[in-house]
Amino acid sequence: MTKNTAWTKKDLLGLKELTREELELLLNTAESFKEVISREVKKVPTLRGKTVVNLFYEPSTRTRVSFEIAAKRLSADVINIATESSSVRKGETLIDTGKNIEALKVDIIVMRHNCSGAALMLAKNLRASVINAGDGWHEHPTQALLDMFTLKERLGRIEGLKVSIVGDIAHSRVARSNIWGLTKLGAQVTICAPALLIPPGIEKTGVRVTSDIDEALADADAVNVLRMQFERDAENAFPRQLEYFKNFGITTERLKGAKKNILVMHPGPINRGIEISSEVADGSNSVILEQVTNGIAVRMSCLFLVSGANENIKKVGRLTSLPVNRLKRP
């Protein structure tokens, strides 16, 4: 990493628009925060006096709690807004909600939204920092960052690694953010899913595509197993779950054809017996719980960097985080 890399963006919206150096800065900074969260006193005064709002339009416990812990470890004040019980129910628009939160002198808004692009829209309209905690099928940058952090911590590098992502790629923001981040850092990504769940044109991002799980596992250093969401189609869920497990489920038997120390990752919450067997989820290849711990360090890094950059932007007196061409993107 070059020494002069600085974080200049007030927001973290996705990994697609970040440079390799910015990704490395986020991950390296997270390493220092990992040290902080393993101390006796797991708290530093860095963001004292700053306020972070968690604005979640979709139910989420783990991401929200992880951001809340991350902000508290940095001594920021944290407020959670669950939209089911807020004025969003009364028809307030997203931008109005955002401006009202900003008027409360909030510094950082962490938002999850069911519409792709919602975080970008909010960020364009506010001076407060926006961190995307998942928008539609678009991106979930902090999840991908914690996946990459875990890979780097366990295997020492990302460059040259072979990483397979298995599951519902089409509807997965986790997959998209991982693809952008991993390919930028020089990993070889393979995606594996039933043909219907592979988004058309995905190979243009430089990934290898297959529907053969054994092929995807064969030479992989790590496999990232996505959550299958059959609850959207409850009626037919059970037979399809069995079929999916048979054809794509990660089991001990299947891992026999993989590298002996392949890392098994999962963004959670896991569906035991659907995309992964209990034996694998709890086995020696699994780093699923390490990912949860690393999520705090990575989110502390994001909060720290956007907060510092925004202070500098406010000093200069202009909004510099969004390059003009980004606003015109279709």
Partner: protein
């Protein structure tokens, strides 16, 4: 802001003699190395801490544990520095509870770095006491902080900068005073 070298204060031999004297003072004041730990402020303070520990070992036969403190997260000026500093790890892999902590930094100036370092050390536990060792004291304190061990006092003007250069980081041991041209 360009800087020109105004005075050459110390060379390698001078620095070695100064470190040896500081090591003796630390041992004298603390009556040996019992419960003694040395913690340096990253980057140059950490190198100096390691050198002090080695010098103490030569005199006393026992090397106190050495830790590294990165005070970035404890700074009081995070929002006013133009570029964000890169955060590095703090590495203190021993218990500081009830220990005699010698905090080491290269230059003592406003005292704000020391303030941040004290806060961070105390987050790691409750030491018996903390003593401060600095290689150069250049004055202009903004906080009520003083050093217990000083390599050399160099009265300066606020326009000047004192640089302690070390083989580990700059490839050469020397102390110089720099002055800004404007």
């Amino acid at each position: 802001m360009s800087m020109k070298e105004k005075a050459h204060i110390m060379d390698k031999n001078g620095m070695q003699r100064t470190l040896a004297r500081m090591a003796h003072e630390i041992l004298e004041k603390n009556k040996g190395t019992r419960d003694l730990v040395i913690v340096g402020v990253r980057t140059r303070g950490a190198h100096l801490a390691e050198r002090l520990a080695q010098t103490i070992e030569k005199i006393d036969g026992h090397k106190p544990p050495v830790g590294i403190l990165d005070i970035t997260l404890y700074r009081d000026d995070l929002s006013s520095i133009a570029q964000q500093p890169v955060v590095h790890k703090t590495e203190i892999d021993f218990d500081i509870q009830d220990k005699k902590v010698i905090l080491v930094d290269d230059v003592l100036y406003t005292g704000r770095t020391v303030r941040a370092a004290l806060d961070e050390i105390i987050d790691f536990g409750r030491p018996q006491f903390i003593q401060l060792a600095v290689f150069i004291d250049r004055g202009h304190r903004e906080l009520p902080i003083r050093a217990d061990y000083v390599g050399k006092n160099i009265p300066t003007s606020p326009k000047e900068t004192v640089e302690v250069r070390l083989e580990e980081s700059e490839g050469k041991d020397e102390v110089v005073v720099l002055e800004s041209n404007d």
